[in-house]
């Protein structure tokens, strides 16, 4: 069976205002809304669209969604199944693991599932690392097409347009490959109630991290969390004239 593997991460919801704990030991995550990392939702949406476009072949295509996290992450996997994933895998880890170890976990899953395509979000909006997809591609010794804004499959190849500093870059990669998503790849669908009911019957398997033979290590230790420095509140001006004078006075313009 042709398979697409999609990685998702449970993160503090996009709309939550982040607060740093007063003792500097972390950010407040107790009792805040948790969601699928937005870039990972885009990854899943892309997989679903590829499957939908597949026609007759689509019946033979399977989308497997994988996450690494605490047991509660099942909620996000159910949402992913409701969106359209066929099967879910939860690799249980009570504590967060580093990107390199996450890549090692994904590699183990890949060895078992043999996907022709792996789609991940380009970064998680909590640690903003932007590493896992590239690390996975390196360990797997396969192509990476990061920051994708367009993905076109063509037999055993894919053409991927990437958002880069210079503009848009197009790469051709042999499959299997790792794609990481940028914001404009697609707009994820909303989950409908009947799909939530259906998702309850879809398979969700739980695996222990140790059962995969990956022993996570803490290589980078967070010693202190601080709120960012606040900018001084400025002044309001009344007109373009007043603004122009203020900027000239500061020597910022002529």
């Amino acid at each position: 069976m042709k398979r697409i593997l999609v990685g998702i991460k449970r993160v503090v919801d996009y709309n939550v205002r982040i607060r740093v704990k007063p003792d500097g030991s972390g950010v407040v995550t107790d009792g805040v809304k948790m969601s699928i990392n937005p870039f990972d939702e885009i990854a899943l949406e892309e997989a679903i669209r590829i499957k939908e476009k597949g026609g007759a072949e689509a019946k033979e295509m399977e989308i497997v969604v994988v996450t690494i996290g605490p047991p509660d992450t099942q909620q996000q996997l159910r949402t992913a199944l409701a969106m359209g994933a066929d099967r879910a895998l939860l690799v249980e880890s009570a504590t967060p693991i580093e990107a390199l170890d996450a890549a090692k976990v994904f590699l183990k899953i890949i060895e078992k599932e043999q996907p022709f395509l792996v789609i991940l979000g380009k970064q998680a909006i909590d640690d903003d690392n932007n590493q896992t997809g590239q690390m996975l591609a390196a360990l797997w010794n396969r192509p990476q097409a990061t920051f994708a804004s367009k993905v076109e499959l063509n037999g055993d190849k894919a053409s991927v347009t990437r958002e880069v500093d210079a503009g848009l870059e197009t790469l051709e990669v042999d499959l299997p490959a790792v794609v990481t998503t940028d914001l404009r790849l697609n707009e994820p669908r909303y989950v409908k109630l009947p799909d939530i009911m259906k998702a309850k019957k879809k398979p969700l398997e739980t695996l222990a991290l140790t059962a995969l033979g990956v022993a996570p290590r803490q290589r980078v230790k967070a010693v202190k969390f601080e709120p960012p420095p606040q900018r001084q509140k400025g002044v309001m001006v009344k007109s373009a004239q007043e603004l122009a004078e203020a900027l000239k006075k500061k020597g910022l313009v002529a």
Binding site: R17, I18, V27, A99, L100, A103, K122, Q123, I125, D126, D128, N129, N130, Q131, T132, G133, Q134, M135, A138, N141, R142, P143, Q144, A145, T146, F147, S149, E163, V164, D165, A166, G167, L168, E169, T170, L171, E172, V173, D174, D182, L183, R219, V220, K221, V223, F225, E226, P228, R231, G234, V235, M236, V237, A240, L243, A244, A246, L252, V253, A254
Partner: protein, 314 residues
């Protein structure tokens, strides 16, 4: 002693300013000896520019026909092959470095520290998380090889004045052919580069159309400024993706940032935190952009832009 290898970003002819910023970050590590690696098909011109940067002691030319385009899958094994003597491997936190450096880190079986905004020692760094809503200080054990991307907005570019030796590196690495460059569509522009410009004028959704967005260009040209955009303006098709400023776009640090019709979502503010002076022009007096602006002006941007154009010059 710390030995830092910096992977140069360039377009085949010119060294990108992000590399000189990596040098400044590396130089903050006490006693660091800095080497720059230039991966190219012909590295001579770029290597000569890198050799002039202060604090750089050596420039390595890593030449291979396969390096004509910066493909992470091709460059990573070459850098990994020469990385053994170095305690640190740095690259810029641009799309070039973000794509490449984690691939290098994985080949070296080490972690990466992304978006370093300060190197407090050889083993202790500060970086932003949660779209800059928290700054975390991280530490690695002494003796750990550190791969990092450098948040370019946090550092001044190293100035010229150095005379580093240029050497050709001999690299033995098997290079993959599974990834091929097809094309890059870069909007040609005579305006200053968004990431290094001293002045930037950005527009948001309130501009209303791609046509209206062009109003910014004439003001920008008057000021010699680069043009940026909010995510909303890019999503709406008013501006190209490479103009996006923010958490997932470009992080910039101009002397003057003028935000026009941008409400100031936290993800956008992340991209402009290091701007020296922020000006906000918006018709909504409650827009969050005013909380970070040094100068705020509430009003109709379609009247204000032409007024400013008359009043201001370079």
């Amino acid at each position: 002693m710390s030995k830092v290898l910096i992977v140069a970003e360039h377009d085949g002819a010119h060294l990108n300013a992000s590399t000189a910023k990596c040098v400044t970050c590396a130089h903050a590590i006490p006693g660091a000896e800095i080497t720059i690696a230039v991966c190219a098909s012909d590295a001579s011109a770029v290597a000569a520019q890198a050799a002039k940067l202060q604090h750089v002691s050596k420039v390595l030319k890593v030449e291979n026909a396969a390096n004509a385009h910066a493909l992470a899958a091709v460059i990573a094994p070459q850098i990994a092959a020469i990385a053994a003597p170095y305690s640190h491997v740095f690259g810029p936190s641009t799309t070039f470095g973000k794509d490449l450096m984690p691939r290098i880190a994985a080949l070296l079986d080490t972690a990466q520290i992304s978006d370093v905004m300060a190197a407090e020692s050889a083993t202790r760094f500060r970086r932003p998380i949660y779209a800059g809503n928290s700054i975390v200080t991280v530490e690695v054990e002494a003796g750990t090889q550190v791969v990092a991307t450098v948040r370019t907005a946090s550092f001044e570019a190293a100035v010229e004045g150095g005379t580093a030796a240029v050497e050709a590196a001999s690299v033995s690495a098997t290079l993959p052919t599974h990834t091929r460059f097809v094309s890059v569509s870069a909007a040609k522009s005579d305006r200053p580069d968004l990431q290094t410009a001293k002045r930037v004028i950005s527009g948001g959704r309130a501009l209303g159309s791609a046509e209206n967005f062009k109003l910014l260009y004439s003001l920008a040209d008057k000021l010699g400024a680069a043009v940026g955009a909010s995510r909303a303006a890019v999503d709406a098709g008013y501006a190209a993706n490479d103009l996006q400023v923010g958490q997932t776009g470009k992080i910039i640090a101009p002397e003057l940032y003028i935000a026009i019709g941008i409400s100031g979502a936290i993800q956008h503010l992340t991209g402009i935190k290091d701007a020296k002076t922020i000006v906000a022009i918006n018709k909504d007096a409650e827009a969050p952009i005013f909380e970070v602006a040094d100068y705020g002006l509430v009003g109709d941007l379609f009247t204000i832009i032409p007024e400013l154009e008359k009043l201001l010059s370079k």
